[in-house]
């Protein structure tokens, strides 16, 4: 999951970034409201975290602008004020949810999971493909009766694949959701992680869930004939 944090208070932005990165999100931070649109154009963000009080352009205006340009990703508003008008204005401008400062980092990550869930077909915290189950709250996976741990990047990669079951994702698409702007595209790193994931998920199973479509990308599917 790739998140764009729009927050002008640098220490707050750093704290949220740390919290989300530790929770296996790919995070970018922008401080100026007027720059949000160009950031949204440059990468496929899964969620935008938007502070209401911003220099350049306030959060409400940013939200309207994003929606007007056809961006439909979930937007979570952060507001330092708990005035009712702020919440109403925020939601009416196209935000999906709001969180009043001060907040605990767990509440933020729980809201983000809820928003991600709202987008996908599954209404539980668990994603499932065949007999592979991924718990997005605990970040643990299980295939059949065998549970196993994942590193941060492995988790993000698997989550991205499992949110699009049976769907072919190009390397660029995967990179967009798993790595932030610091990642150099064209890196072979993605193959390293796919390899590690295969080892944990498919080793010892007849049915291989993670499939490589040579030259195109990867897909996770319970249906073997899809290849």
């Amino acid at each position: 999951m790739r998140v764009l944090i729009v927050e002008d208070e640098p220490r707050m932005a750093a704290l949220i970034r740390q919290g989300l990165e530790e929770d296996s999100y790919a995070v970018d931070v922008v401080a100026d409201g007027s720059e949000v649109l160009s950031w949204a154009e440059s990468a496929d963000y899964d969620i935008i975290l938007l502070d209401i009080m911003l220099p350049g352009m306030d959060g409400i205006a940013v939200c309207r602008q994003l929606r007007a340009h056809g961006y439909i990703m979930p937007i979570l508003m952060l507001t330092a004020r708990d005035a009712l008008t702020d919440k109403v204005q925020g939601l009416d401008s196209g935000a999906d949810d709001y969180l009043v400062k001060p907040f605990a980092i767990e509440e933020l990550t729980a809201r983000l999971r809820a928003l991600a869930r709202r987008e996908g077909p599954s209404k539980t915290v668990k994603l499932q493909v065949g007999d592979l189950v991924l718990d997005t709250a605990t970040k643990r996976a299980r295939r059949g009766s065998l549970a196993f741990d994942l590193t941060g990047k492995e988790y993000m990669l698997l989550e991205t694949l499992m949110r699009h079951p049976g769907q072919l994702l190009s390397r660029d698409q995967i990179i967009e959701h798993v790595w932030n702007m610091d990642f150099e595209s064209g890196s072979k790193l993605i193959e390293v992680y796919i390899h590690a994931l295969r080892k944990k998920i498919d080793e010892g199973h007849d049915h291989r869930l993670i499939q490589t479509v040579r030259g195109l990308g990867y897909r996770i599917s319970a249906d073997e004939t899809a290849e």
């Binding site: 208070e9 220490r11 707050m12 704290l15 949220i16 740390q18 919290g19 530790e22 220099p55 330092a80 400062k101 001060p102 907040f103 605990a104 980092i105 767990e106 509440e107």
Partner: protein, 462 residues
């Protein structure tokens, strides 16, 4: 509001009552005077008629018996006036009558000769009597008793009373109606004032009465109300702004603390990492402490002013400030200088620490907004009965639209810059409050792109 409690009703009631009393007194006097005048007129008629009768009654002695003869033509005028006469001989026997006296019995009690009396001529007819001795020379030979009916007078008086009884209430009613109309007209602005003021609360002080058309007492009252509302609105707005600013300033570090704490315990962490997080949180607590302390300083100043007054040499205070900030200035490659006249008394009455804080705030600000290789200069000038201390710094200056607001609490001309430098926007407000508590003033002037000057003027201690 009860009807009787209304001012206009009270006004009308009072005037109408007063009017009623006056009219009643007037009517009484009128009736009394009329009655009096009519009585006199009747008495005069009787007296005149008696004299006439005396002249016309011809008494002839016939065998020692007097014979009374009255020529009818001589009594015509008398009868025309409605006067009746009984002529009595000395024994009291009626010997002759004139007019209606023939049909009416002589009243029982007769007045003494030469006097008048009231009587009843018949059951329903009051009358006036006059008796007069019938004389010729020194010899009395009978009595004249004259009477006239009071019926026409009574009818007239009754008509007068009836007219008054109808006219008086009518006049009073008209006057009450007129009074109510006038009172309504005069007091209708009061109703509009009441309606407006009733809708004004602390939540909405934007309403005004706006009774500009009138320059009378009520117009002045309305204008005074409007002026008061204006002041109240401004005061409330400042308070509200302050509350919102304070809560924002406190919420930022509180939000940081909350997020840091939740982050710290969200997963197992190394001791070193936790230590760093705690240091960061301590910085936030320190920042909040600074803010609360500055706010308390302001609140204290607003409440009581400065406490300890003493003779303070401004040049010494400024020198102390300069020595405190010299290191910081040098670190930023800023030339910090002092210009002070020699052998001139620059002593003011005040509090050394407070004045130190004033100049420290100004110099700290000046250094903050001066680019490296710039200068911060302090000039002390003794004017006639004032000392002025100017803090001048080179730099981009302050845009004119910000100048009037610089001394407001939490005002920041450049919010992004202020965040970097860590200020709350209270330094100048505190300096301003401190200078004012010394009966001085503080002003800011700026030439954008060139330099900015803050000038503190304090009354000299003489």
């Amino acid at each position: 509001m009860k009807l009787l409690n209304k001012l206009r009703v009270q006004l009308v009631l009072w005037t109408v009552t007063l009017e009623a009393i006056l009219l009643l007194v007037f009517a009484l006097i009128l009736v009394f005077a009329l009655q009096n005048s009519l009585s006199q007129q009747i008495d005069e008629t009787l007296r005149l008629s008696a004299a006439q009768m005396n002249a016309v009654v011809d008494v002839a002695l016939d065998n020692g018996v007097s014979r009374y003869e009255i020529p009818a033509e001589d009594t015509a005028a008398l009868r025309g006036r409605g006067v009746m006469v009984w002529i009595l001989d000395p024994s009291g026997t009626i010997v002759a009558t004139v007019g209606e006296a023939a049909d009416i019995p002589l009243p029982v009690s007769l007045p003494l000769p030469g006097t008048f009396a009231d009587t009843l001529l018949s059951d329903d007819q009051a009358g006036r009597l006059f008796a007069l001795p019938l004389q010729e020379g020194n010899r009395a030979f009978g009595t004249l008793v004259l009477a006239t009916s009071l019926r026409s007078v009574q009818t007239f008086m009754r008509d007068v009373l009836l007219s008054l009884a109808i006219a008086l209430p009518l006049v009073l009613m008209l006057s009450a109606a007129g009074g109510l109309f006038l009172a309504n007209r005069a007091l209708s602005p009061v109703a509009s004032i009441t309606a407006t003021v009733r809708h004004i609360s602390a939540d909405d002080l934007s309403q005004r009465i706006h009774l500009n058309t009138q320059d009378d007492e009520i117009g002045q009252l309305a204008n005074t109300f409007d002026a008061m509302l204006e002041r109240l609105q401004n005061a409330f707005q400042r308070e509200r702004q302050l509350t919102s600013d304070v809560s924002h300033e406190l919420r930022t570090p509180l939000g940081l603390l909350k997020t840091q704490l939740s982050l710290a315990r969200s997963r197992p962490r190394e001791a070193a990492e936790l230590l760093q997080m705690m240091r960061d949180m301590e910085d936030d607590v320190d920042r909040m402490t600074r803010l609360v302390e500055q706010l308390l300083t302001l609140a204290r100043l607003e409440q009581r002013g400065i406490q300890h007054q003493a003779d303070v040499d401004v040049s010494l205070v400024v020198e102390a400030v300069i020595s405190q900030f010299q290191g910081q200035a040098t670190a930023h490659r800023i030339n910090l200088t002092l210009t002070c006249p020699q052998q001139v008394n620059v002593t003011v009455k005040g509090e050394t620490e407070a004045l130190f804080q004033v100049f420290a705030n100004l110099v700290e600000n000046a250094i903050k907004y001066t680019e490296p290789d710039g200068f911060v200069g302090i000039e002390i000038v003794r004017l006639w009965d004032e000392i002025s201390v100017a803090v001048i710094n080179s730099g981009e200056g302050i845009a004119p639209e910000h100048l009037p607001h610089l001394f407001e609490r939490f005002y920041r001309a450049d919010s992004a810059r202020a965040r970097q430098t860590g200020g709350f926007g209270l330094g100048l407000a505190i300096a301003n409050a401190l200078v004012q508590s010394h009966h001085g003033s503080i002003t800011a002037a700026s030439q954008p792109g060139h330099q900015t000057t803050f000038t503190v003027t304090l009354p000299v201690n003489t």
